[in-house]
């Protein structure tokens, strides 16, 4: 029962904060609402018995990536007149229409998913050890591919930054 209550608390936090993020004109305020949203998602991970992923969510996204975002945004010296809602035009209405169509599509399919009853989780599920074992045995090749992708991204950033 308490899990349901906590689920709704965290769900409201994540969705509410992300909505607030979208409706802000000031990018720094938006970024901060996104950080609060991450906490809601981290709470949801804990409820799904994945504490390791929850902590990584806070550590990596809230603690590192968003700090970098804020760092750049703070240096962006924005003027007050830039911080207004964009004018509505036909292109934006079109994009919004497609988004709503996609949302309807998703909703249609989500309502048809068979909800599985509770089952016992395997031992080590969601612990650092369990996640590590999976990453380095079953999913070794995707894991290494992702590492190489990140390495390429870092090298690309350095090359772009070094350009005179």
């Amino acid at each position: 029962m308490s899990e349901t209550i906590f689920f709704y608390i965290f769900a409201v936090i994540s969705v509410g904060m992300v909505l607030l993020m979208i409706f802000q004109t000031n990018p720094i305020v938006s970024a901060l609402y996104l950080v609060f949203g991450f906490f809601g998602v981290a709470g949801l991970y804990v409820l799904l018995s994945a504490p390791f992923v929850a902590v990584l969510q806070v550590l990596v996204y809230a603690g590192a990536i968003m700090v970098l975002f804020l760092f750049v945004l703070m240096l962006l010296n924005l003027r007050k007149e830039d911080l207004v809602y964009d004018r509505l035009n036909w292109r934006k209405i079109g994009v919004g229409g497609v988004a709503i169509l996609f949302l309807g599509f998703l909703a249609h399919h989500f309502t048809r998913i068979q909800i599985q009853p509770f089952f016992d989780l395997p031992e080590n599920f969601g612990t650092p050890e369990g996640v590590g074992r999976l990453l380095f045995t079953t999913y070794l090749i995707p894991f290494e591919l992702v590492s190489i992708l990140l390495l390429v991204a870092i090298i690309g950033a350095v090359v772009l930054g070094k350009r005179q």
């Binding site: 504490p51 390791f52 806070v58 550590l59 603690g63 760092f71 703070m74 650092p128």
Partner: protein, 415 residues
């Protein structure tokens, strides 16, 4: 339920009560390092406690001072920032183990609020959030000095978090667990098996990164009085300003606790394992009480030798008597009681609790030593320049951390 609340509340209260003490230690320590007397004026009927009453006077002053909110600030975040800084600094204590777990009626009882299987990662995650308080304060103050302080702090924290994480990985590889309690147990009770000797490079990297993460000298560029007025808290006054300071000291205590836990055996009493302490609990309690009695007596007599009539010509003359006489009497009573009582006969639970108390005291002593170490460094080393700071973080500590990781891995494989 009550036990859970107590487990959350007691570490929190210990930490909060250590903050004024640390402020006193910082003032007195800096004074002795600079060959001064330090605070000695604040007095309450002649009682000065060696300047400790200054902390009390500061608390009263900071609470009752007018709270100024400048007109040009971004108000919600300006108000949020100090609370965020203090909250983040305080929630980390949830996973710190204060003693070896004991068994009550067959049920295990741990001396930490939350026994998470991701313990050390939780601490890292919360520590990485510490930057938000500083950044928000810097940005919402709408002041170029504050903003520069906030920007500096975010860059510094990000850079040193990497070195900190790398140094931690090698410690975790040796310890084989993410739970702080297991890490402490795996280090054993002998000082030469503790991680500061088996992982000296990691110890150096972690300590340096911890200094950077707490924004303490020589890494206190976010404040940088000589360039940035007061950095990110320039626009703050009264209790909000104090909250930033409390957050800084809470971070110092946390960093000291982490250094003690990861590298100096945490609650392990040197040369005395938990089993040994539990077996010899009766004799141990006897020795402990006797030693405290003698210590009180010696301290009291030492204070009494300072007594000289007409030294100041007012109530301050009698301060040493107020502390000295009760100390001597308490010490005399304790020693006589212990000597007459003889060796103690403890129940199994009692001996477990005795071991836990001794371990708790050892852990607090280690924490206090490293708090003093932080203060000692702050008043001996000059501040880094910004490019030196970034160079040290990225060009020295990151490669060193990676090399240490590789060497540790190879040695662990060879073993």
């Amino acid at each position: 339920m009550l036990i859970i609340i107590l487990k959350i509340l007691i570490p929190f209260l210990i930490i909060f009560n250590m903050i004024p003490f640390l402020i006193w230690l910082e003032r007195k320590g800096s004074a002795y390092i600079q060959d001064r007397h330090g605070p000695n004026r604040a007095a309450f009927f002649g009682i000065r406690l060696g300047g400790m009453l200054h902390s009390l006077a500061d608390v009263l002053k900071l609470i009752t001072k007018e709270d100024i909110i400048p007109l040009h600030v971004h108000k919600p975040f300006y108000l949020l920032a100090p609370f965020l800084a203090l909250t983040v600094a305080c929630v980390t204590y949830a996973v710190v183990p204060f003693a070896h777990p004991i068994e009550i009626n067959g049920e295990p009882f741990t001396f930490q609020a939350a026994d998470l299987n991701v313990g050390i990662l939780y601490i890292l995650a919360m520590a990485s959030l510490g930057v938000y308080g500083v950044m928000l304060a810097g940005w919402s103050s709408n002041n170029k000095y504050s903003l520069l302080g906030g920007v500096r702090s975010s860059a510094q924290m990000l850079s040193y978090e990497i070195a900190m994480g790398l140094s931690l990985i090698s410690v975790l590889m040796v310890g084989g667990s993410l739970e702080l309690n297991n890490l402490v147990i795996s280090q054993g009770a002998t000082p030469w098996s503790w991680n500061f000797l088996t992982q000296p490079v990691a110890f150096f990297l972690f300590t340096t990164a911890a200094f950077a993460e707490t924004n303490r000298n020589p890494f206190d560029l976010p404040e940088g009085e000589s360039e940035l007025v007061a950095g990110y808290h320039t626009e703050y006054s009264s209790m909000k300003f104090a909250m930033f300071f409390m957050a800084e000291y809470a971070h110092v205590i946390m960093a000291s606790a982490l250094i003690a836990l990861l590298f100096f055996g945490g609650w392990q009493v040197p040369l005395m394992s938990t089993d040994f302490l539990r077996e010899q609990a009766g004799l141990g309690l006897y020795i402990l009480l006797l030693a405290h009695g003698i210590l009180f007596m010696v301290a009291g007599i030492f204070l009494l030798t300072w007594f000289k009539k007409g030294k100041y010509g007012d109530l301050r003359d009698y301060e040493v008597l107020v502390w000295g006489i009760p100390l001597v009497l308490a010490g005399l009573g304790l020693s006589l009681y212990t000597l007459l009582h003889g060796s103690f006969d403890l129940t199994p639970l009692g001996s477990q609790i005795f071991a836990a108390v001794v371990q708790f005291m050892t852990f607090m002593a280690k924490i206090l030593f490293f708090c003093w170490f932080f203060i000692w460094i702050r008043w001996t080393l000059p501040r880094f320049r910004y490019d030196q700071l970034m160079g040290l973080g990225w060009k020295v500590m990151l490669p060193l951390g990676l090399m240490n990781l590789a060497v540790t891995g190879i040695i662990l494989l060879m073993r």
